[in-house]
Symmetry: C2
Subunit: 202 residues, 2 copies
């Protein structure tokens, strides 16, 4: 004879507060438990919510993960933009601010990397995630090209932006993975030195 579980108290969240809470919980779980340890139950527990609720806001766990990618991508983009806007208005200072922000919290962060790795690894198997990846990276490249163009107007910065993105990504990856053989300051200096070599006027 099984005693029936008394129904837990709850309150009805306004607007899409619950939806955002689930997205946050998804990112946090991806970060702390990895793809392998991320499940509907785990996410909902992190959000303090019953497992069934996920499907009230999302068509399934795949859609939640995709929406989480979009949200986290936007957060990263916003953090970088903020750093650039807070810098001195010279092209040089804005570029350096972009680089510095890339190697400092909240961008260089072990949790963010773990979440990001999960997205990367889904790119191969999930078409929606792949499309999101292309959009996010294209936007990032355009931002960078604009910053470069402000410094040296007229010339084509496509390849420069590509290389700088790759360099920053690689340094960011090692830094966030932990145990990196260099400091955030060295990473910034490295990227700046690279810029100076390629764009003589910096």
């Amino acid at each position: 004879m099984q005693a029936k579980e008394p129904r837990a108290q709850f309150h009805r969240a306004p607007a899409d507060e619950r939806r955002l809470a689930l997205i946050d919980a998804c990112a946090a779980t991806l970060a702390r438990k990895g793809v392998h340890g991320t499940s509907v139950r785990e996410i909902c527990a992190a959000a303090g919510v019953s497992p069934g609720l996920l499907r009230h806001y999302f068509s399934g766990i795949d859609e939640l993960v995709a929406d989480t990618y979009a949200a986290v991508g936007a957060q990263v983009q916003a953090a970088l933009n903020d750093a650039v806007e807070a810098a001195d208005p010279t092209p040089e200072a804005r570029l350096i601010a972009y680089l510095t922000a890339s190697f400092a919290p909240p961008i260089a962060d072990a949790d963010l990397l773990s979440t990001w790795l999960a997205f990367w690894s889904l790119t191969r198997t999930d078409a929606k995630i792949a499309r999101l990846h292309d959009e996010i990276y294209a936007e990032n490249r355009i931002t960078l090209e604009r910053l470069l163009d402000a410094h040296a107007p007229g010339s084509d910065h496509r390849l420069t932006a590509i290389a700088l993105t790759a360099l920053v990504d690689g340094l960011w990856l090692e830094l966030s993975l932990g145990n990196a053989p260099f400091t955030p300051d060295e990473a910034t200096a490295l990227a700046a030195r690279w810029l100076a070599a390629l764009l003589p006027r910096i």
Copy 2:
């Protein structure tokens, strides 16, 4: 009434042929199905072997994954070394060979990337994998420092090796992820141009 399954034919593999087959199957499954789709049964099916056999050769799936990381890491290192040794014996040619090989098969390969992403994402949660990562990257950095030192003896190439590793990693990542906005040749040219700017004699 369930008919008993007749026992399948098999042959006893010599030495650790089975062990290597399981490692190959693990890498292939990680590549094709991602972390999420990789399970004991999936790996063993790929190896053409019964599920129970995995635990005869490994203490569990975690140990198999770790051993697979070590094996794949060694393969990558060997492919890069081969490319360098096959090049003209000048320091410049050897460096360029290293770069070119990084952006061509079998190194720049979607399957290899998927496998590698799985390893990266396990670095946070699995201490054994984290240690392996440090070893593999340290060895790679030393290889690169030696190549740089052959070109410009005496000076300290620590930071140069770090930056070149990051640049190559970033370009390799985008290239292997698919839909990259640049070609392998452009990636090689980019890295070479970077080297030329920083090491004047190339």
